[in-house]
Symmetry: C2
Subunit: 313 residues, 2 copies
């Protein structure tokens, strides 16, 4: 008979990787959507995923293959501990949407376990374990979704060797609008269209923009943020994979968005704006835009989520 | 008979373009060396360079070809005004050294004229006129020396079209050490070794660094500044043109420099450090290093010059 032990429920938010110009090095966290993960300790000595909801049956219950548990296994290996736990994963966000779904599960798993074990690690220390979950999901241990999901706010990853994560300031009135059109863009296709080489001039424009975006965030200069988010590298080739992207972006900018680009590798699109009124209006306009083009979509808007993953009960 | 009119003397400082990772988009101003330029209005209706000192006879007295006057001609054209002036240019800094010598002359010229005319333009407004002087000297109207020379401090040029110049914060205790070895590196050679294309991975590392450098400047995080200045793009190919550069850099970092890279297109080398004690020690060590390698050199060290070009009398 299994004895029931401590139990915890956590919420891990969606994230916008790249943030336009910060291709592969920046990301931010939003209020919703996100994953809710429940972990209940027991004395079985084994991690078991007992239920997954909201995934349309697409995710595996195998703890060696699901990001939620792979990250936990990694953490336990590092601690050289064996622990038994039942895991329930509620995917309250679309899979393969460019919203950091796998990172959210991965972060939720290690964060919950860390809380249950009395916090042997800081949030920053947990990032590498969660990155191992990402490796299972995407083939590489990226941190541009994991780090903002874990730490909240707007994150810059300066280097991977050693891992150096920098929290950038979050302007108070900065809102993020997300729209997830129900079209399929495979991450491997989104990666395949990226150039292996870029013109030096393109690089120069991009590193001017990441520096300017950082300055804009420190200064709460919304207009500068808008100009600086512009991505010269990944957006142009990836835009071709997203039906009507350029038209949507044009509409968003005309409707008062500071900037609009692709969230992660898409198909979700994000827009930044100043203030809730514009954010709400924009979310509606983006949904209507897709509806007019016979594509169903989900929209969300919120301030940047400065907290990251949280215990909810 | 020429009537003698108003007279002014200005000092325009040397500048470090690129600042490592900020290739083509960043630059800073130092306290010395620099150009001293004297402008005396008269009623001749013509600009005349009456004397140049410190240039070993290398610079032209032709006002249509010398950067100091080309920038002034450009400003007068814009104002649709004819003005007569005698110009004396004291080059108190080496030419072709990667220290922004031509930019200093160009800035000094328009700044002096603007002062004499009752400041029809702001410092920022003067930048494009000074950039025209740079076009004569280097073939392209760059702002990465001109802007920090004019405005002082640490400058980011986010874009040229339209021209967008951002002043970044200057940490109080940030010192710049400059060493100018007497070796010749032609700007056209330094340009020729640059790649036309760079690997996407290299670009990613570079735009992570410009963002991180900006954050480091806002946070006065000297250690982060040091890590972030690292240039993946221009320094590696250009280092091959500079005798003993890698050895010198290694020595500087071991001696307490936060960072060390090539100033502009070289041959001058700059190092950043925290505090005057290390700066002074480092300036001596860099001079000794070149002496040991049978290369004579000049060294300078100062805080970042936050004022830029100034009236001195």
């Amino acid at each position: 008979m299994k004895k029931t032990g401590k139990i915890i429920k956590v919420f891990a938010p969606a994230t916008v990787a790249n943030l336009g110009c910060g291709f592969d090095v920046m990301g931010l966290s939003v209020a919703e959507p996100g994953d809710a993960v429940e972990v209940r300790l027991n004395d079985s000595g084994l991690l078991k995923i007992i239920k997954i909801t909201g995934d349309d049956g697409k995710l595996t219950l195998d703890p060696q293959k699901n990001t939620v548990s792979v990250s936990m296994i990694n953490m336990l290996k590092h601690l050289n501990k064996k622990i038994g736990a039942d895991i329930i994963l509620n995917k309250n966000m679309p899979l393969g949407s460019g919203l950091g779904s796998s990172a959210a599960s991965s972060v939720a798993g290690v964060f919950a376990l860390n809380e249950l074990m009395g916090r042997p690690f800081s949030r920053k220390d947990l990032v590498p374990f969660a990155m191992e979950g990402e490796r299972i999901a995407c083939g590489s241990a990226h941190a541009d979704n994991v780090a903002p999901c874990m730490l909240g706010g707007i994150i810059l990853i300066r280097s991977y060797d050693p891992l150096e994560i920098i929290s950038l300031p979050v302007p108070k009135n900065l809102f993020v609008v997300l729209v997830h059109p129900k079209v399929v863009v495979l991450t491997r296709d989104a990666r395949a269209v990226l150039p292996k080489q870029i013109p030096l001039k393109t690089g120069i424009a991009q590193w001017a923009n990441t520096a300017a975006l950082t300055a804009g965030l420190y200064e709460s200069d919304y207009s500068l943020i808008g100009r600086a988010v512009h991505d010269h590298v990944a957006e142009p080739p990836r835009a071709r994979l997203l039906p009507h992207f350029n038209e949507l972006k044009g509409m968003a900018l005309k409707s008062g968005a500071l900037a609009c680009s692709i969230s992660g590798s898409g198909p979700s699109v994000f827009a930044l704006c100043e203030g809730e009124v514009i954010a709400k209006k924009l979310a509606r306009a983006m949904k209507s835009f897709y509806t007019r083009n016979n594509i169903s979509s989900q929209t969300f808007y919120s301030k940047v989520n400065t907290k990251g993953v949280q215990v909810i009960s």
